[in-house]
Amino acid sequence: MNEHLVFMLQLLITGVAVGGVYALMALGFVLIYKASNVVNFGPGELVLFGAYVSWATILQMRFPLYVAFPLTLLTSIALGLIIERGVLRPLIGQPIISVIMVTFGFASVIRGGLNMLWGSDTRPFPALFSSQPFHLGPVPVSPVHLWSFVIVLLLLGGFSLFFKFSLTGTAMRATADNQQVALSLGVSVKRMFALSWCIATVVSTLGGIILGNVRGGVDFSLADLGLKVFPVVILGGLDSVMGAIVGGVLIGVLENLSGGYLDPIFGGGVKEVAPFAVLVVILLFRPYGLFGKPEIERV
């Protein structure tokens, strides 16, 4: 096999692996949006929070993994509850700019809080998987990427089953579909809001742990990555779980391919901007994305 093909395959595999994490973040975003019509502009900070807490529990406090891991997840659930109860519930019914700004606000609080607690140095992340690459045919693949992808697949599959078959999952779908009908059928809409935030923070935390492993360390640039969630959800459709997954992988692949092929031409950094260029194009031609409901009001 020639070199070009190997290069491309490598970019594809990295893209799919990174895209899996984007899909996780987008899943959290879409859940919140579907359930409560809240747009979370701080998805990156949720990821950052997860990454730092897991770093702190594993490496700083030196808990064994089977303690550290549940502890991290519990903390992120608590964070989700605090955000939903304390910040967003009082703002139900407020104009969209207020809701957007308040998500910027708590994102800023999370970032500053982490900074106060642990400083802004890059932290080495516990390597849960070896980074020694093995060969899949002629293409070198690092186990971190492979594992992260497998974990993401398992998680997404688990969540799909949860939404499809469990009672709570069905109630969440009902809430997303029509709040009044859900209320009249005895679904506690408030609980569903809280639950969607908890799931979002947990999923973001897992994304943070995976990203920490892939990058080998956590620092505050993780938060910038969070904004990539917007191209993903717009491509997939704001209110579609399926769209979040497909969009995540597509955007991951796209940014790696464009980075690999266009960087030499434009002199670097294409990876950061390509998803947003795609975002503008989608907004112009198909604002509801691949799987979203076409509910755009034209004036």
Binding site: P90, I97, I100, F104, L227, P287, I296
Partner: protein, 349 residues
Amino acid sequence: MKCGGFRVSYRSDEQIFDTYTPRVVLVVFLGLLFTIPMFASTYELDVLNRIGIAIIGALGLNILIGYTGQISIGHAAFLAVGAYTTAVLEAKIGLPFYLAIPAAALLTAAFGLLFGLPSLRLKGLYLAIATLAAHFITSYVIIHWERMTNGVLGLLVPPATVPVLGLPLDSDARIFYLIFALVIPATFVAKNLVRTKVGRAFIAIRDRDVAAEVIGVSLFKYKLLAFLISSFYAGVAGGLMAYHSRILFPDAFSLLVAIDYLAMVIIGGMGSILGSIFGAIFMTVLPEVLKLTATSLTGVYPQAFGFIASTRDVIFGLAIILFLMFEPQGLARIWLRVRSYWKLWPYSY
């Protein structure tokens, strides 16, 4: 003492200040403002200058968000276009400031029109995301168009020079006059703009765009006009930034700057000119107060500096959250309440 509004002519109804006292106070205040450079320290002047620039930028953003209801997270990109255009015109072409700033503002306004185009089809959240994308694309171009902007190395700007006198505005005290000579007309124009036909059209669009279109407000025209005016203001603010900091880095126009400006509008008060001014002052002074606290504490607790510096994010975020929850109309509303309390004090009933 005034105990009500008894207006008998349209002229008196249209006045901004209906008694003499506030007019006299305003004139005296402005007069005193221009004597500040004679006794203030460089540091204080630097803060004041940044407040002035922030006021112009916040006024522009408030016209767009507070009055027209179009959410833009791309204000930092507008500022960047204004700043870099001014810098390039001054440094590479040698235009004097009184041509460079208007030219930059016009170019930024054209750029704002381009930003505004999606607003014709997209609303609320979608528009916010579109402007977010535009922000990233703009900052990418600024970082990578190195021949023009010098990229991350930074672009040096020669000081603005006063014509005829040949006096370079190279110190904080001198640039102060240029900045505030622009802040005053900017405020005046904004205050009057929102009371005219255009301003009412903006407000109608904000409150209900479909209804506005039905009663004959052309959404196409006024939405684009809002973006145009807003980015014109940002262009002026950006141009002043170029002359004030004299060196431009792409970092100075990050997304955080856009969020800072949004916070000025929210904390100051959406849909209030006075609020924009309060917000600009609040958001500029807050980090300085924290910095001063940190410096004064470092003698006692040597580690305090880093700690207090990072509290900025927390306090800033908390301020946004608390204002949105408890005083959504911002500082302007608080000011109004305090004023009307004292107006009738102590017989407020």
